[in-house]
Symmetry: D2
Subunit: 220 residues, 4 copies
């Protein structure tokens, strides 16, 4: 899995802090811009801690993600307040088997061996079908969930906070959880105030939408 932050609103904490300020001020925006940056960020911090996260929508974060499974991307694109551009399996011929191996399978050498063999066979069949004039978009029906994909994703900070709420949770599927923590690390570097307390909802809101009794993370 390779995740990069390829673009974002410059100075996300200051820009969104200014938006917070504007709603309760008589000053025009060009005067707000001259405010002390530290003070603006303090206001943002206060506003977010009160739960008013609408202002952080004024910052967008664009990630390039590669080396993730189609199992992951099918979950990812369910987040609707976001933009996606994904490598097409209809138009892109995948020349070699690139696929994800879950850790639970890696742990069992015999299963892993069979898994590798199985996917190599699938790929040979995928290529074979194409040679026999099966269209690429149909040959790919045989490709597994494990198949790797590339995707560019943009989310605003509010949608990201929700994404982290759900996908940093221990009940989230391991691969998308791993992605979520990598994304969180990247955005925290450029927007420390917005994402200061981002994470699973048990940490951010003291709410567990799953079975907290069975969760080893949930504070006892």
């Amino acid at each position: 899995m390779k995740v990069e932050l390829i673009g974002h609103t410059p100075e996300p904490d200051f820009t969104t802090g200014m938006a917070a300020l504007l709603t309760h001020s008589e000053l025009q925006p060009h005067l707000l811009k001259k405010k002390d940056k530290k003070q603006v960020k303090n206001i943002l911090d206060y506003v977010i801690k009160m739960g008013h996260t609408s202002v952080v929508e004024h910052s967008l974060f664009t990630f390039s993600i590669s080396g993730v499974s189609r199992a992951l991307t099918h979950q990812l694109v369910r987040h609707r307040i976001a933009s996606y551009s994904q490598q097409s399996q209809r138009y892109v011929k995948l020349s070699n088997p690139h696929y994800i191996i879950p850790p639970s399978i890696k742990k069992h050498p015999d299963i892993k061996k069979k898994y590798d063999k199985c996917i190599e066979d699938l790929w040979a069949f995928y290529e074979n079908m194409q040679k026999k004039d099966i269209p690429l978009e149909d040959a790919r029906y045989i490709l597994p969930n494990a198949t790797q994909s590339n995707i560019i994703v943009s989310m605003n900070a509010r949608s990201l906070l929700n994404f982290f709420d759900l996908r940093c949770c221990l009940y989230a599927q391991w691969e998308i959880r791993k992605l979520a923590y990598q994304m969180l690390k990247l955005v925290r570097e450029v927007a420390p105030v917005i994402f200061s307390s981002a994470g699973p909802s048990c940490k951010t809101k003291k709410i567990c939408p799953m079975d907290k009794k069975k969760c080893q993370w949930y504070p006892k």
Copy 2:
């Protein structure tokens, strides 16, 4: 593929027609309701033909869809102005191989035979992994795009018009195009005015977003 319309706003043409009327009338809604139904629908028809489709958002259509591939559902859920509840591969053990066979593969008995065998082997391995304590959510990494899924989808009429624009097109992938035409048939029965001229964008807007020269459907 099995598609059913399991719920929708009652009288979609009249309800959305009333909304069209309200924007340009001094009358209060409870008086508008008493208007002649035929007249209201005529206004709706005029408004839609002018391209003002925002009013048709006041009607929602809920479909249950089963016997479609995960290749299809991954495309379907990219439509963001919609609601989805999909059978989870993380929680539901798929006890028998249920999968889609593309028509291009059905046509070649030898390829089809290999395709069937290949998927049966995958399923045996999927079940075998579970017996060896691989979690269901990881075992499913081996399942192919062809695997069947069930999904409940709700879209408002405006989002549906856009869905038909894109997915009734001859360039759309065959399986989702087949779904689109089945959905269109169902909604036209209950909302004939809204969907009277729904279909691919070459028909609705005389716009081809693909290569119209190569399209056998595009009017020469």
Copy 3:
């Protein structure tokens, strides 16, 4: 203020309950439909109480609202996961002064008298400008926030739950709070399970996004 529920997905509790069931079942939707209704609603109730409200999106509620101020509608249309058709001030000539009087003004007869007079004068000027060839869309610049408007609104149940969270709160502005409680009363009649515990976020989530110390509603 006059609020009517002019349309909704039939049997919202059962339809959305079925969607909840489908995600964790191997059964196809047409078999789920035959399930005992009581049992389906119990599952829905459980799912909502855990905080998984995505399934209730499969029900839409359409309201006609009249006799509310433009101050209210400007707040209302800020809810983006919703559909609106509002009486246009650009196209509809408002022939008589229809306006809202806040209760705090009604309480002071002398202020109320001046308020009434002031708005009557505005209206006379509004009509006078039109006679002197000022376009309607410009003459209306003089009309006050208090001016009445009609609007048709559709929201799905998930968006409504969020609307009630925010607008049933004691800190919400009185007019939109009044609207929220009227809407809640109407939807609870047709979808008692979905909306059983809807209301301000202090009641639904034990979260106060405002100053709970100053709130007379907040449980001490």
Copy 4:
């Protein structure tokens, strides 16, 4: 009216062009980034002209807008794929009359004089009510549509293209049309490829959603 572009995704043409490239390429994103910038922009240009505008969602533009009427902002916030932070009339006391005068009124000195007087009287009453313990949120019911407001708005490029389609049209209301052209000028400077042919739908799509016969702009 004062409009500033206070933040945007850096290099919008290149970032969104990369997203276009990724969908049809086997290359991973970090390799795409090394592509020749000119070539990437040419691909973007081609893709947009074909009507595939989803990739431009990967760029966000944030504007600060001041000196516009509440008549304008009520229209503006109807664009739902966008983020808004607006000066609150409930919390911000507007100490002096700041208001918009439509050009059609400016042209008639006698009407303008009465308009100015009328608004000054309103403001005096607004301040007077506050002194008599009418809450600010209720006193503002008397303020006119003409009252100035400040607002920070963020839209992605796809939503902006739609905004320009509708609001650069000669049938759009003059104030929001003026805003649209100022916004278009600003974004074209930083994203010339994305917005090269942005404008009213008669120019971008040869579609007129209004009465083209009466439009002096529509090409005869």
